[in-house]
C-alpha cells in the first residue's frame, strides 16, 4: 500500500470511524464482485457511511483526489454494476437502512437507500399496502440498487417498474453537492432528473434518500396455472389474453427444463409440460372473477391440457415460490449456468424460441427459458459444465448470440438486470454511436470528471466538454465546483 493511500484511509476513517472503513485485503474480498461472479476487482477500500453528510464528506474527498467510487447495496446485481474499479473505493449504503417516513394518506414512504425492498412492504402491510416492484431477489436487494438498476419483477406488467414508483430522491452528486431530484408533489417544474437517475446504474451519483409510492393491496388476487404442450402454444394463449383487452397483474412462462428445476428445488407441484403459463389477475373481486373466467376459456381454446386456479393464499405462494426460485434451482440440473435478460416484442416469441432451440442443438448446450411473457422479457439460462474444456466459452458465446437475436427482433439486451460491466460491449450493437454519445451528455452534466462508477454502461467514455458550439463555461465551472481538463 502506498503512502498516499494510507493517508487517504486515515482521512476516510476520520469521517466514518473505525467501523465505517474496510481496508484489509481479506475483508475486501467480499466486495470484489456482485452477483456476476466471474468479474472480480479489489477496491482500495470499502466505505460504510451512516448518513447523507458522511456520504457527502467521502465523495468530496474522492472528488478532490479524483478517485473513482462505486456505490453498493447488497451486491446482488447480475451485470457487474457494483463491481469495484481498480484504484477506486466502494461506498456501501448497507448501514443507511432506516425507513424515515410512512404517509398513508398520500401513499408515500421515504427510505434510506440501504433499506431492503421487502422491508418496505413489510412496514406498510398492516395497513394493506405494498411496494409493487418485486424483483425475485426482493428479500435481499436494496432500494438504492433497485433505483440504480430500475429493477422489475413479475408484477411490473401491471404496476410498472421501479421508475414508476420513485417520486423523489436526495442525491449526492459526484462533486459532493447534495441535490433533490423530483419532488414529493407530482410534476415539479424542470427537467425530469429523477427519471434519468433511475436506471443510470450508479453513474450519476449516489442516492441517499428515496421517496417511494406505495400501492393499496387489491381486494382479490387469483393465480391460474395452465399447462400447454409447447411453449409456442402457451405464447399464442398470451396473445389471446392481450387481444381480449385483459391486463393481468403478471403473466409468466416456464419451459419444461425450468419446470423440472423448480420442481426439484421447491416442489411447487407444477404440471409437467412444454410450456407452463402462470397468470395472475388482481382487483375488485367481481372484476377478477369475470376476467378469470375469460382467461380460463382463452387458455382452453388455445390447447391447454390442464388448468388450475390456486385455491388458497398458501397455494398461491407455493406457485410463486417455484417461479421465483427458478434461477437458483438451475443448480439442481446443471453444475453451471449463465442467466440472460433479453427483451423481445412479445409476438416474436415463437421465432425466437425456435432459433434458440436450433442454436442449442448446434452447440449441444441446453437452455432453460423463464419468461416474463406479458412484457417480452426473456431469461434464457444457458446450462454448461465448467469442468468440460471449452464449454464455458461456448456458453458465453451462445448467451451473447441470444442477445443479438433479441436486438435483431427489435428488442433490448436488458429488461431489468442492467448493462453494468457485462453487457457494455453489446451497447453499440443496440444503439448507434450518436445515440450513445447523446446519452453520455447526461453523464457529463452530472459527472464531468467521470468519478461515479465511470467504467460501466458505455463501452467508451465520452470526453466531457467537447460539446460543439462556442465555448461557454460549464455551469459547474462557473460555480467554481469543477474545472475543465
Amino acid at each position: 500500500m502506498t503512502a498516499v493511500s494510507s493517508q487517504l484511509l486515515d482521512e476516510f476513517r476520520a469521517v466514518l470511524g473505525e467501523r465505517g472503513l474496510i481496508s484489509s485485503p481479506a475483508e475486501l474480498r467480499t466486495y470484489e464482485c456482485d452477483g456476476l461472479t466471474n468479474f472480480r476487482v479489489a477496491p482500495i477500500a470499502v466505505l460504510l457511511p451512516t448518513s447523507t453528510a458522511e456520504v457527502q464528506d467521502v465523495v468530496r474527498i474522492c472528488h478532490r483526489e479524483r478517485i473513482p467510487f462505486v456505490a453498493r447495496g447488497s451486491g446482488t446485481g447480475l451485470s457487474g454494476g457494483a463491481l469495484p474499479i481498480a484504484g477506486g473505493v466502494v461506498i456501501s449504503l448497507a448501514r443507511m437502512k432506516r425507513i424515515l417516513d410512512v404517509d398513508f394518506a398520500n401513499q408515500r414512504v421515504v427510505v434510506e437507500p440501504g433499506v431492503i425492498n421487502l422491508e418496505v412492504t413489510g412496514r406498510v402491510a398492516p395497513n394493506n399496502y405494498f411496494y409493487a416492484p418485486d424483483p425475485s431477489s426482493q428479500s435481499v436487494c436494496t432500494i438504492g440498487g433497485n433505483v440504480a438498476e430500475n429493477s422489475g419483477g413479475a408484477h411490473c406488467l401491471k404496476y410498472g417498474f421501479t421508475t414508476t414508483h420513485v417520486l423523489a430522491m436526495e442525491v449526492v452528486l459526484p462533486n459532493g453537492d447534495v441535490v433533490n431530484l423530483g419532488s414529493n408533489a407530482l410534476d415539479a417544474p424542470g427537467y425530469d432528473l429523477s427519471g434519468v437517475f433511475v436506471g443510470a446504474e450508479g453513474t450519476l451519483g449516489i442516492a441517499t434518500k428515496v421517496t417511494l409510492r406505495i400501492v393499496k393491496r387489491p381486494e382479490q388476487i387469483q393465480t391460474l396455472l395452465a399447462a400447454f404442450p409447447t411453449a409456442n402454444e402457451a405464447g399464442t394463449a398470451v396473445s389471446g389474453i392481450i387481444a381480449a383487452g385483459i391486463v393481468p397483474a403478471a403473466i409468466e412462462m416456464m419451459d419444461s427444463l425450468s419446470i423440472q428445476a423448480a420442481e426439484a428445488a421447491v416442489h411447487a407441484n407444477y404440471p409437467m409440460c412444454g410450456g407452463l403459463l402462470l397468470v395472475e389477475l388482481d382487483g375488485p373481486t367481481a372484476e377478477v372473477e369475470a376476467l378469470m373466467a375469460q382467461v380460463n376459456k382463452i387458455c382452453t381454446d388455445h390447447g391447454a391440457s390442464e388448468i388450475r386456479v390456486a385455491q388458497s393464499e398458501g397455494e398461491r405462494m407455493v406457485v410463486w415460490k417455484g417461479r421465483k426460485a427458478a434461477f437458483a434451482a438451475m443448480g439442481r440440473i446443471s453444475p453451471n449456468y449463465i442467466v440472460q435478460d433479453g427483451v423481445i416484442p412479445r409476438t416474436a416469441l415463437p421465432e425466437v424460441l425456435d432459433e434458440i432451440e436450433r442454436m442449442s442443438r448446434e452447440t449441444g448446450l441446453r437452455v432453460a427459458n423463464v419468461f416474463h411473457a406479458g412484457d417480452g422479457n426473456l431469461h434464457p439460462l444457458v446450462l454448461y459444465d465448467r469442468r468440460i474444456e471449452g464449454q464455458e466459452h461456448a456458453a458465453e458465446k451462445f448467451s451473447e448470440a441470444i442477445l443479438q437475436l433479441c436486438i435483431d427482433k427489435g428488442g433490448s439486451i436488458t429488461g431489468e438486470h442492467g448493462v453494468g460491466e457485462e453487457k457494455k460491449h453489446m451497447m453499440p450493437k443496440m444503439y448507434a454511436e450518436p445515440d450513445l454519445e447523446t446519452m453520455q451528455r447526461v453523464r457529463c452534466a452530472f459527472d464531468p470528471l467521470h468519478l461515479s462508477n465511470p467504467t460501466k454502461v458505455f463501452p467508451r467514455p465520452r470526453l466531457c466538454g467537447e460539446a460543439p458550439g462556442e465555448y461557454k463555461p460549464h455551469p459547474l465551472e462557473q460555480a467554481g465546483i469543477a474545472e475543465r481538463f
Binding site: T163, V178, V179, P189, L193, G283, V343, G411, H417, M439
Partner: protein
C-alpha cells in the same frame, strides 16, 4: 418575421437545427401551435421548426401493444388509429384535435387518467430527438421493458423543446375498456371532498379517475372494466357517499376553464388539497386526487404561488403573466443548466422560455 420551416424527415429537422445553430439563429419547435405562448415568452424566434409534415403513425404493433408515431401527428388522429384495434394511449390531453404528440410530450400534459395510468413519462418507451448540433439520436426502444442506457425519453418529456426537437416517439398502449361509468356525488365543501377522495384512494376500488370540481362542488369517479366489476364498485361507492350516475362530460372540466385571464396548474399533496383551495380561493378549480389541479385565479399570481410553494408544491402559469411562468426550480437547477449546456450549448432552442431562465 421569423422563418417557418416544415421538414419532411427527421434528418431534415436535425439539418435545419445544425444550420440555425451555426448561424446563431434562435429556434422554436412547433407542433399544432395550440400553445406556443405557454411558458415564458421566448427571447426571440428566428426560425420556427414545424413538425406538421412529420405526421405519420409509423407502426401500430397492436399485438405487442405499442405504437411508433411521428411527432407532428395529432393526438386525436393517433387515438383513432389505435381504436381500430381496441387500444388507446391512456392519456387525456387538452385539445386533442390540435395537440400533437411532440407538443404533449414537450409540455408533459396529462389529464384525469393520470391517476391510474401515470403520466406520459410512464407511457413513453422510446424516442428520436434532433439536437442543435445536427445529431439525430434514438433512445429507449420498441419494447415495454428496457433498461439499456439512460432513459432519455423521460428527460425530454416536459423539457418544453429546450433540449432537442422530438421527431418520433414510441408508446406503450392500453386496451379501451369494454364498459365505463361516471359517478358523481355532491359534497358540502373542499374539506369533505378531500376526505372522500382520500378514502376512495385508500379503498380497494380500481377506479381510473377521481376529481373534485369546485363549480359543481362534486366529486367524480370514473370506473372502467367489466359490467360486473363496475356494478360491484358502484355498490361500494354508494356506501361512501351519495353517488349517482354522472356525465362523462365532467371529465372535460379542465379544458372548460379556458378562456380566462389567469389559469394555473398546481400540484400539492393529496392531503393538502382542501387547505390549498381555501387559501388560494380560486374562481374555479378542478383538482385530481393525485394532487394535480387546474385553477382560474384573480389577484396576485405571485402570492398564489407562495401559498403553494411553502407547502412543497408548485404553481405553473398557463396564461401570459408578468411573473415567471414556472416558479422555484429547486436546488438541482445547476444540474439542469449543465444538462442544457450539454444538449444546447448556444441556447438556440426556446431560449428563455423554461424553468430558471433556460
Amino acid at each position: 418575421m421569423s422563418e417557418i420551416v416544415e421538414p419532411k424527415t427527421a434528418r431534415e429537422v436535425a439539418d435545419k437545427l445544425a444550420d440555425a445553430n451555426a448561424r446563431g439563429r434562435l429556434v422554436s419547435p412547433r407542433g399544432g401551435g395550440s400553445k406556443l405562448d405557454w411558458g415564458n415568452p421566448p427571447a426571440r424566434t428566428d426560425v420556427v421548426v414545424s413538425t406538421a409534415a412529420l405526421n405519420r403513425v409509423v407502426e401500430h404493433a397492436w399485438a405487442d401493444m405499442t405504437v411508433t408515431v411521428e411527432a407532428g401527428c395529432t393526438v386525436a388522429r393517433l387515438q383513432e388509429t389505435l381504436a381500430q384495434h381496441g387500444q388507446r394511449l391512456a392519456i387525456d390531453v387538452l385539445w386533442p384535435e390540435r395537440a400533437t404528440i411532440g407538443g404533449i410530450l414537450a409540455t408533459n400534459d396529462s389529464g384525469v387518467l393520470r391517476l391510474r395510468f401515470g403520466s406520459l413519462r410512464d407511457l413513453v418507451i422510446g424516442m428520436t430527438v434532433a439536437l442543435p448540433d445536427g445529431t439525430l439520436a434514438m433512445s429507449g426502444g420498441k419494447v415495454v421493458k428496457n433498461v439499456a442506457g439512460y432513459d432519455l425519453p423521460k428527460l425530454m418529456t416536459g423539457a418544453l423543446g429546450t433540449l432537442g426537437v422530438i421527431t418520433q416517439a414510441v408508446f406503450r398502449l392500453h386496451p379501451i375498456p369494454h364498459h365505463t361509468r361516471t359517478l358523481t356525488a355532491q359534497l358540502p365543501n373542499a374539506e369533505a371532498a378531500q376526505k372522500l377522495m382520500i378514502a376512495i384512494q385508500d379503498s380497494q376500488l380500481a377506479h381510473s379517475a377521481l376529481q373534485f370540481r369546485t363549480d359543481a362542488s362534486s366529486v367524480d369517479v370514473l370506473l372502467e372494466g367489466t359490467e360486473a366489476g363496475i356494478q360491484a364498485q358502484q355498490a361500494t361507492l354508494a356506501t361512501m357517499a351519495a353517488f349517482t350516475e354522472g356525465s362523462a362530460t365532467s371529465w372535460n372540466a379542465r379544458q372548460e376553464l379556458w378562456p380566462a385571464e389567469t389559469i394555473a396548474k398546481i400540484s400539492v399533496l393529496p392531503s393538502q388539497i382542501a387547505e390549498t383551495l381555501q387559501q388560494l380561493n380560486p374562481t374555479r378549480a378542478v383538482m385530481q386526487a393525485t394532487g394535480i389541479g387546474h385553477v382560474t385565479l384573480t389577484g396576485d399570481p405571485a402570492a398564489a404561488r407562495h401559498i403553494v410553494e411553502v407547502k412543497g408544491g408548485s404553481l405553473v402559469l398557463l396564461t401570459p403573466s408578468s411573473i415567471d411562468a414556472w416558479g422555484n426550480p429547486g436546488d438541482a437547477l445547476p444540474v439542469m443548466r449543465a444538462v442544457k449546456q450539454q444538449f444546447d450549448p448556444n441556447a438556440i432552442l426556446n431560449r428563455g422560455r423554461y424553468v430558471g431562465g433556460l
